[in-house]
């Protein structure tokens, strides 16, 4: 349905010892398991079978103030088998890593498919894929987060927390969240694909409390989850951007301690900041904020499974119906160019092959403001009139079935040279928003409401003061048609989510969204302050 917040580690699998974090299952073993499953499925009557042998490693270091609350290593290993039999899908998964167990699971998957086949109105149609034989790929990381000593990670977070508290924060919660998905995909198309995917996230939440007034405010970190190794936390100067109001934001490298100190000061300032006057404003949105608006109002509505109604019971459908694609619906202004990309370096969604064994790519969704494409996988492509999948299938575990998930969906930078300062200098009455906050959107992706972390009033081309209690409400097409400019590529940065939720049973996926700072004219801003008496 959308991106989630911080999640406890218990939902991600079993917990393992540190020494296992640098190991992997032998490829020959994975191939033997996959062949056993595919042979059993074919013998039972499957016309197609794919097998995913997965080992999902995660490490969490969880702290609050001056305490380490937990250090957890988790592993989830098993095999998921998907088949088509009698024209219907069936799926079964087991954590028993023996040939006998996976063969049995393959038989269960075929039985499930056959049980559902009589009620089907039409057989499943798969867009063709040519087998690629045995291939492998790895996220191009510099430092494997899993092998960095626990002590270094604890020292980092304790230093971050101390810096925030010394700078005046009342509380801080900081976390390191490290992911390694070791994914092996095999199918009866003739592919055996071994991929080693790495991701990192370092969220924090800094709280300031004013006991006299009873007010409290939170400023979350301005980092992004990334498809990078531990090098992301080096805090390199090349990763920093100082915005016109002095706020520091981050690109390919994050200085967590610096951000914690700033967060403490800004959280305290939020308590005293004046409340926004509701009305229409021109918004200047930093990429640390815009990623979430792109995600909810473009990424999701242009997922073909939603457009077709496959998500009608949970995540919802889409206003961007197929007739709008045929008519090249004016989704946004001519400044709006939005691409889907499963190959973007450093992004959360980057892989070489998706979870259906389809080679990944970059493609257009919106060009010069016009709707030109969706995100589709193998069993949907024919409905859109296409002969190939876009390569955006994903499953968050060996135990869940793969389905269509959002690629990295990003707003391209403006082609003309335009800095953030120049953009702001032309705004008469606006609000500058940095960081993502509250978010909610309807089931067809029309009406959305977004908050943020930091809000600054703009008057006559100048940033005047920090303000609070801001949320803006949009109707998606009007919002994107109100896009009056996008800064150039020098300002381009990624944001993203580790926890984009969708599907039943619910699955999460990690996805990035890039943009440069962008301006949107005439947007409705509400005041969110209330009193409980």
């Amino acid at each position: 349905m959308g991106v989630g917040g911080l999640v406890l580690p218990s939902m991600f699998g079993k917990v393992i010892a540190a020494e296992e974090l640098s190991s992997a299952i032998d490829v020959a073993v994975k191939k033997a398991l996959a062949d056993a499953a595919m042979n059993a499925a074919k013998s039972a009557g499957a016309s197609y079978c794919d097998v995913r042998v997965g080992r999902y490693l995660r490490q969490f270091v969880i702290t609050r103030e001056r305490n380490v609350e937990n250090v957890v290593n988790t592993e989830s290993t098993g095999v998921g088998i998907r088949v088509i039999a009698n024209g219907a899908w069936g799926f079964a998964a087991t954590n028993d890593m023996t040939k006998e167990a996976v063969a049995k699971a393959a038989g269960q998957a075929v039985a499930i498919a056959k049980a559902n086949a009589p009620g089907q109105s039409a057989p499943v149609q798969l867009a063709p894929v040519t087998g690629v034989g045995e291939v492998s790929w790895r996220t191009p990381i510099v430092k494997n987060s899993m092998t960095v000593p626990i002590k270094d990670k604890v020292d980092l977070l304790m230093g971050v927390n101390a810096a925030a508290l010394d700078a005046g924060a009342s509380f801080i919660r900081s976390i390191l969240f490290l992911v390694n998905e070791q994914k092996y995909f095999a199918s009866t198309d003739g592919s055996y694909i071994d991929q080693d995917v790495h991701r990192i996230w370092a969220p924090m939440e800094v709280t300031a409390v004013d006991k006299a007034t009873g007010k409290f405010r939170v400023r979350e970190g301005l980092s992004a989850p990334m498809g990078l190794g531990y090098e992301y936390l080096d805090g390199a100067a090349s990763g920093k951007t100082v915005l016109p109001n002095g706020v520091i934001v981050y690109g390919q490298s994050y200085d967590m301690k610096e951000d914690a100190v700033a967060a403490a000061k800004q959280a305290m300032a939020k308590i005293k900041a004046p409340s926004v006057k509701p009305g229409k404003y021109d918004l200047v949105l930093d990429p640390s904020h815009t990623w979430l608006t792109i995600h909810e109002s473009v990424g999701h509505p242009l997922e073909l499974d939603r457009v077709l109604g496959y998500e009608a019971n949970y995540a919802g459908t889409s206003f961007a119906t197929m007739d709008k694609l045929k008519a090249n619906f004016q989704y946004g202004s001519d400044k709006v160019n939005i691409v889907a990309d499963k190959t973007q370096p450093g992004s959360l969604g980057a892989v070489s092959y998706d979870d259906e064994g389809v080679k990944t790519k970059k493609w257009d969704l919106i060009r010069d403001g016009k709707l030109v494409g969706y995100q589709a996988i193998r069993d949907q492509a024919h409905i859109e009139g296409k002969t190939a999948s876009d390569g955006c299938a994903y499953a968050d575990s060996w135990s869940n079935v793969q389905f269509q998930r959002m690629a990295n969906v990003s707003l391209e930078p403006g082609k003309a040279k335009l800095s953030v300062a120049d953009m702001i200098s032309n705004v008469e009455d606006g609000i500058y928003i940095i960081g993502d906050g509250s978010f909610s959107i309807d089931q067809q992706r029309y009406n959305a409401q977004f908050g943020g972390q930091l809000f600054y009033e703009i008057k006559k081309g100048k940033i005047t003061q920090q303000i609070e209690d801001v949320a803006y409400q949009i109707r998606t097409p009007e919002f994107w048609n109100g896009c009056a400019g996008v800064c150039d590529a020098s300002d381009y940065r990624l944001g993203g989510s580790f926890f984009d939720g969708k599907g039943q049973p619910a699955q999460v996926s990690a996805v990035s969204h890039g943009s440069s700072t962008a301006r949107f004219n005439g947007i409705n801003v509400i005041n969110t302050a209330r009193s409980l008496g």
Binding site: M1, G13, V15, I16, A17, V68, V71, N73, E75, G78, F91, A92, A93, N95, D96, A105, Q108, A111, I112, A113, N116, P118, G119, A122, I150, S170, F171, V209, A212, G214, F216, V218, L308, G309, Y310, E311, A312, N313, Y314, G316, T317, V401, S438, S440, D442, Q444, R445, Y446, N447, Q449, A471, Q473, Q504, P505, N524, T528, A529, R530, S531, L532
Partner: protein, 445 residues
Amino acid sequence: MSILSEAQAKAILTKVVGFSKADECTAQLIGAIRGNVRFARNDVSTAGITDNIELSVQVAFGKRIGTATINQFDDAALERVVRRAEELAKLAPENPEFMPAVTKQTYMKTDTFSASTAGIDAAYRAKVATDSIGPCRAEKLIAAGYLEDQAGFVAFMNSKGNYGYQTSTSADYTCTVRTEDGRGSGWVGHNVQDVANFNAGEDIRVAMRKASASAEAKALEPGKYTVILEPAAAAGLIAFMMFFFDARSADEGRSFLSKKGGGNKLGEQVYGPQVTMFTDPAYPGAAVLPWDDGDNLPRKKMPIIQNGKLVNMNYSRFWSQKQGKPEQAQFGNIIMEGGTKSTADLIRTTERGILVSRTWYIRMVDPQTVLLTGLTRDGTFYIENGQIKYPVKNFRFNESPVIMLNNVEEFGKPVRVKSDESDMVMVIPPMKLRDFTFTSLSDAV
């Protein structure tokens, strides 16, 4: 394999705890068979089954904790997992807030297992799909739905003599029905522990009626309205509020339950006098495990809100000790008291108002006041003079459940519901509320 008998589970746990050389050791087994069928566009889209069992071992040396897990059960594997947990504990820093494992506890009996739910197979799931799709096809409506069933067990043992074993089942059915032209949408949900009385063919009629009746929706101006929230619509707001019932956050001054100047609002009139809420692990039809997930403290019936006064919050063991409070289990379920009226009865006594079938994508806007935003979905209707007059376009709301529960006109008869926002088992009444704040219209159907 995934549901071990008590004897099988106890034998494994006894061995594991016996292997440990740490100051203390807690072992837990969790196993489940989960089945599902998903359908959309009047066809089954996916169906599957997952079989999994895991053993986790947590040990402590002083205030250093380590945890490891394995899914093999021969003696060598069991000893290996204990040694791994011990190694991790020796690497971990001390946690000043460490709490030792609990000693032997006495747990109440709770009825969490149903043979009929455990007996669900692929044919049953396929029938649920066809029972949902068939009537929709016949009336040119489009069904998208989901059934998930689960049968499993949990068993734990620690080196201080505490032990527990329990089996449980659950089934959750939801279905959204849309008109072919996409102008109407209805929904039905049925969350149960025992499927003996579940009939998808009957439930689907509710969603079909709402789908047909919600087409031709008219636009009303956003603003403050008297609303009737059906239990499924109210559950999302209540569930979200319950995430913020932590006593420590309140005492630290960062919760809507914090008191100006320090401390929390225990004993204060936070809600309207009609509001009474409690937790009860043995509540008929909504029973949960008799211990909590974190420390295996025994759950018991406990009031949370009485006639609008806050009488209990969630306390961690550490915070209980620090505040000099007796230890208590985390809430396992939420039961709200109500009346005897149905939603239809509440409509009959409403002069003007909005009926909300379901709420959607609820998110926190301001934790200071628990201001939540979200939308109505799948059946929103205008009520006039005790009757549903016409369907209305969906609204976005910006409302605090605290303010909402101070504006209660009347509660109806509570029913078990599952919120999109939480896995907690909830029993929630339909609610008639005045001055509910809608801030904009949505074109979504």
